[in-house]
Amino acid sequence: MNLIEPIERFGEDILEAVAALGNFILFLAQAFRLIFAPPYKPRLAIRQVRTIGAESLLLVTLIATFTGMVLGLQGYNTLRRFGSEGALGTVVALTLVRELGPVLAALMIAARAGSAMAAELGAMQATEQIDALTVMAINPIQYLVSPRMLAGVIAFPLLTSIFDVVGIWGGYVIGVGLMGAPGSSYMNGIAANLESHDIATGLYKALVFGVTVTWVCCYKGYYARRMATGVSEATTAAVVLSSILVLAFDFCITAIS
């Protein structure tokens, strides 16, 4: 009896973990499928594009400016040692477009909009508002999660593009304006060396991160435990897990592309 009990408990834990993972993936599949199922409610998705996208614009612009400035400064100091200040534009642009743009934009949106998403759905779960939708014969995943996911897919690539452009401008201001790198080769270098493949990779990442962040944050909020601490736990877990997954998926996509 005493010997078997810990083994039983271990088995139960494993089963529970597998069930939770399955539930997590089914949640994504269901939310994605219901984007294309009637009834269509475009206004719900549009409102979410505003929440996730437009309202994150200031933060993303600010972070992009500083990121570009650091890249301009650090890149100039490094490249000068090799006498290649002319390559500054290319270095800044490639770093931003392929890596930092999609990743930092995603992390910032996760922190700002993702946490709010988890908290909102968590509070709705705690106060039975999600059950209220169900008993009115409205699918809560279709009503609450699918529009957020669709909005993520629309907003993340747009915000990432803005991040890239603002970051390149920030690198120019510091690298060229302050440090004195040659201005014409900054822009010409970008035009000559930034390929459409680079831009496509960056936008593809933004698309994947858009799904990842909305998926994780909605899931954590949707299944928050029904108590005050449940909402705070869900919010923390949503931001932590979506950040980890963004960085992990970033590595995977970089490795295969």
Binding site: A123, M124, T127, E128, Q129, D131, A132, T134, V135, M136, A137, I138
Partner: protein, 256 residues
Amino acid sequence: MADANHNGAAIEVRDLRKHFGRQQVLTGVNLQAPTGMITTIVGPSGCGKTVFLKHLNLLLRPDSGEIIIDSVEVTSLSGRALDPVREKLGVLFQAGALFDSMTIFENVAFPLVEKTRLTRDEIAERVRETLHEVALEGVETKYPSELSGGMQKRAALARALIGKPKILMLDEPTTGLDPTRTGAIHALIRRTQEHFGLTVVMVSHEVPKVFEISDRVAFMHGGKVGLFGTPDEITSAKNEEFERFLAGKAAADEAD
């Protein structure tokens, strides 16, 4: 009350069982809620009455057993197939569950906006009528957080009624209200039930006050219905568990 048809039950439950983890919460519930009457479920906390109600409003699925709502066996249905049954039900949640991002008007109008093709004017008219029915007027533009507990209950009741359900399910409709407001909500439930000829199933801890408006009472104990009948029948049944529950209830109320 209303005449009974051949078996007279709007809701019939047979041997309903449900467990969570290692805990058996429902151990074989049997219940018949007669059409056009108020059936009240009472019992000590932890007896499974809220879990049971969540089976009736189709939020939980049983391990085994049958639930027949308005002649439809629902435990074999899932997904969209449940929608026609759901449309016959109006549900009032314990905390109201009003959408706090919407005004009272938007909350009450919500089921019509989402599920019907009524025009704006028709919806506004129905909302006005329904709010009048629950004696709640002049708060259409307020948010739920700006209302008192009793007013939130009324607004939530209006939202449950606006789809013209045949069956109304109430989860502890008077939780958190003072005795005066409790009496007012009870009177409102009775009046609404009579006006629309509704079948009402209600979970309540307001014992024995709730017996005044109940046609049938089901006493749940240990995950099943231990005693069922009219309020007079069950209070005179000399059931040991029920008397202990009533005595415990009285002692707890005294302590308040």
